[in-house]
């Protein structure tokens, strides 16, 4: 479903990823662990098609639901509108929002939300997007323990049948998401 073969990427003369191969199948859940500055976000941007590898090839499904490192909610739309805009079924988008504990903030604009609420909004948007694979860069950033648990349950519920790759530096997330932990080193040949 999502395949990367022998990809390499460098910023100028600084190599970030070298000879990396990766594959993610339908229904599979992977947790990419590692300290910051290692190239995890660059890897996710390569998988999304926002960066092009200097070597190697990437095969991806036409639609990917992505939680970026930043929330990237549209500032002129309310939280509800942000969720519904990308979804084909607004009722589902609202249901996901409710389950993420955002129901009472639907009419709020992103500028009026807390960091954690915006993060859950970005997560809800990705889950509501009809796609074959979900890529998430630190989806629990800024969430307290209770919200993390709720968000993880929501991911497990709505990910079903879709491929999931989560980037994190928290090994505990593997247990929360019932995901197989991997590292960038393990992907490099």
């Amino acid at each position: 479903m999502l395949n990367a073969r022998n990809i390499s990427f460098s910023y100028g003369n600084r190599p970030v990823l070298q000879n990396l191969s990766f594959s993610l199948e339908k229904g599979e859940r992977l947790l990419l662990l590692g300290p910051s500055g290692q190239g995890k976000t660059t890897f996710l941007r390569l998988l999304c098609g926002l960066l092009k590898p200097q070597r190697g090839t990437i095969q991806r499904p036409s639609r990917l639901g992505v939680v970026f490192q930043e929330d990237r909610l549209l500032p002129t739309l309310t939280l509800e509108e942000n969720l519904c805009l990308v979804s084909r079924t607004p009722a589902l988008a609202r249901q996901i929002g409710e389950e993420l504990g955002l129901g009472e903030y639907f009419s709020h604009y992103p500028a009026a939300l807390s960091g954690g609420q915006r993060r859950r909004g970005a997560l809800g948007r990705a889950l509501a997007f009809p796609c074959d694979a979900l890529l998430m860069d630190e989806p629990f950033q800024g969430l307290d323990e209770k919200s993390r648990k709720k968000a993880a349950q929501c991911i497990l519920k709505y990910q079903e049948g879709r491929a999931l790759l989560v980037i994190s530096h928290e090994p505990k997330d593997a247990e929360r998401l019932k995901a197989r932990p991997i590292t960038l080193e393990s992907l490099m040949i």
């Binding site: 930043e70 500032p75 002129t76 009419s107």
Partner: protein, 263 residues
């Protein structure tokens, strides 16, 4: 009384006091000079403006100039918007447009007025001059606005398969609004001043600029001041009205302030 009303009232009072100070200074200067031909007093000017307001030709002149200058401004603004969008998505076109627009921007308005006197019938000269003044200014502002669109949101739109309309509506348009407001505010002032200057030179029948010219020729300094006051007042009303209209139309595309929690 809410804090907003109180703030508005105190701001109005402050501006009133400032205006009163300068009017007083003008009145004292006129008393000391005692030559209405050189400097009429604000009371004389106010009285004359009141008299003019009661005459039919005064409103006819306003309608004549307003119609043409606003038409020139609108053509300039929408022409600039079209060129800015085209230039933004086709960078070679932007490079091609840069020299003529820079020349238009740098050429003294008097040169254009003299040229336009040769090319156009005098009644429409002010519209043409307003158009020329507004076009490069609005083009630059709107192009800058398009360039200021958040690249992170553009990436998000790409990943979430936004249609070109959605990208424009949700990402480019909100970025464009503050620049469009600045363009309207500055462009309208420019168009108004340059348009009236064009009328002073072209002397079309029944224009505000022609009234200024006549007042100068007949040494009616009080009339000159009264017409100038009318031009300033109209410019202010026009600018405030246009900005309010753009703000109203673009409210849905402007990021709300933090305190505006629910929609």
């Amino acid at each position: 009384m809410t804090s907003t009303t109180w703030k508005a009232k105190s701001r109005l009072l402050r501006w009133g006091l400032i205006a009163l100070f300068w009017l007083l200074l003008w009145q004292i200067g006129a008393w000391r000079l005692n030559q209405p031909l050189l400097l009429p007093s604000p009371l004389q000017v106010g009285r004359r403006l009141g008299e003019l307001c009661l005459t039919h030709p005064f409103w006819q002149s306003i309608a004549f100039s307003l119609r043409r200058i606003v038409a020139g401004f609108l053509m300039g603004f929408f022409g600039a918007a079209l060129l800015a969008v085209a230039g933004f998505f086709l960078p070679p076109l932007a490079s091609l447009l840069a020299p003529p627009l820079t020349i238009i921007k740098s050429t003294p308005v008097a040169s254009f007025i003299v040229l336009a006197l040769l090319w156009l019938p005098s009644p429409w000269l002010s519209a043409f001059i307003a158009f020329l003044m507004v076009l490069p200014l609005c083009y630059e502002n709107l192009l800058e606005g398009l360039k200021s669109a958040d690249p992170l949101l553009l990436e998000m739109g790409k990943v979430y398969a936004f249609t070109p309309f959605q990208v424009f509506r949700y990402i480019y348009l909100p970025a464009l609004v503050p620049y469009a407001l600045a363009a309207v505010r500055t462009g309208l002032g420019f168009a108004w001043k340059a348009g009236i200057a064009g009328e002073v030179l072209a002397i079309p029948m029944g224009a505000m600029g022609t009234q200024l010219h006549t007042a100068k020729v007949t040494l009616e300094t009080t009339d000159l001041f009264a017409w100038t006051a009318a031009i300033i007042l109209l410019s202010l009303i026009l600018e405030k009205g246009a900005v309010a209209l753009v703000k109203c139309l673009s409210r849905r595309y402007t990021p709300p302030k933090k305190e505006n929690t629910p929609c």
